[in-house]
Point group: C2
Chain length 247, copies 2
């Protein structure tokens, strides 16, 4: 089975690269790669390298770059998921699965009914953990670009960014919302997409009105009520599918 490893992009030189710390340890101690063997390494910026191990110590691998390819296995569409932070590990899970299917950027979202008691310290720890989850998932899914994990953002802050996107959709339980199948009718030339998913209790009426005024389109995820993290992944799967970027 193919395995990708991760190199911090600042440790990639002209014709060699260095892998430090845990990732090096994993390669040498757990997987027991030796000098002279060839591994595949991604830098999270779109670069994938075939690398011959020149020296392998426990905490440091130095490798000679044999070849480089660009943007391996990346979707053509740039999909951002603004996901209301759920309790416990829900957001970790969304980042893990979202990275696998092809989401390019995550915005951890706070709405009126999102209940996350996050101090500044806690937020920093979370963002670091989410980044580790994304790195692991990027490798697992054979992607070469590390999805961007943005800072925790309120709905009002998000609404200021809406204009940067070609198309903005949000999950809705309202009968008047567009049916999911209407995704098929959006122009596939739209490339910068934003999907917004609210908390378990949904957006408030006021939040919905703000979203609609900002140009976001409500999409009904069906009559079976999905947990917030399920909604995020199912919604993104269907968008990527309709844009021919899944399977």
């Amino acid at each position: 089975m193919i395995t990708f490893f991760y190199v911090e992009p600042e440790n990639v030189g002209e014709d060699n690269l260095k892998i430090f710390g845990e990732e090096a340890m994993h390669i040498t101690t757990v997987l027991r790669y030796k000098k002279g063997e060839v591994i595949e390494v991604v830098d999270g910026k779109g670069g994938k390298y075939k690398v011959m191990i020149a020296s392998a110590e426990k905490n440091l691998i130095e490798g000679k770059i044999l070849s480089k390819t660009l943007l391996e296995n990346e979707p053509k569409v740039f999909l951002t998921l603004a996901q209301s932070i759920g309790k416990g590990m829900k957001m970790d899970w969304v980042i893990e699965k979202g990275t696998e299917i092809g989401v390019s950027s995550f915005i951890p979202l706070v709405t009126l009914r999102t209940s996350v008691p996050l101090g500044e310290e806690r937020e920093k720890t979370r963002l670091q953990r989410w980044r580790r989850v994304a790195i692991s998932s990027m490798k697992q899914s054979l992607r070469s670009v590390l999805p961007d994990i943005q800072k925790i953002t309120s709905l009002d802050e998000l609404l200021l960014k809406v204009e940067d996107f070609d198309l903005v959709l949000f999950g809705s339980l309202d009968e008047q919302a567009k049916k999911m199948k209407s995704l098929a009718r959006f122009k596939k030339t739209l490339k910068k997409l934003l999907v917004i998913v609210g908390p378990e209790g949904g957006f408030t009426e006021e939040e919905k009105q703000k979203l609609i005024q900002a140009g976001a389109i409500p999409v009904n995820l069906g009559k079976r009520r999905l947990r917030t993290e399920t909604a995020g992944i199912v919604f993104c799967s269907l968008v990527l599918y309709e844009w021919r970027d899944l399977g």
Copy 2:
């Protein structure tokens, strides 16, 4: 927010029903429902009842059935997911999310590369746990039918059942497999569908040949490699979407 409760179908009478144990405790002690209040109850067999609480004790609720509806929020298609059992809680997760999106039956699958050391005792515990996950997810997603969780099944046993289905698909990484978008071209009059998802390491060549000989159609889930549980949920989401049973 609407909440559904669960009643064991054998405890439903002509015009009244009884809820015992944990579920009763949850209703009385946690949610503090009282005599005279009206709750919505599903029996997992397709029945949904509006029930007035006639008496509420800690471990027993007796209710008067005010009205009954059938098959609330159920998909029109009957989708069975045969999912290779992953490590840890992966199967729990597949059952949770699969129930939310509309899977009707789960077959925990063992293939050559599935690594689950399950004794008979362990299997019984797992099946009980999976059933609880399914009940909780049925309520959460406002379904009225409890998905069936079949016994742990080998691929050879599964192949004997393939003829019971109108259409059998399996996830494949092979280039020659059908593209996901070809789901759009299957006749939507086919109603009994089976989706088969292999383990992280994939099916062996021999297993693939057996599947194809049995009439199963390989479908490529795309170039980004999905974890087995992600593949199960994404595959089922797309099938339900194409059959107009999601959103």
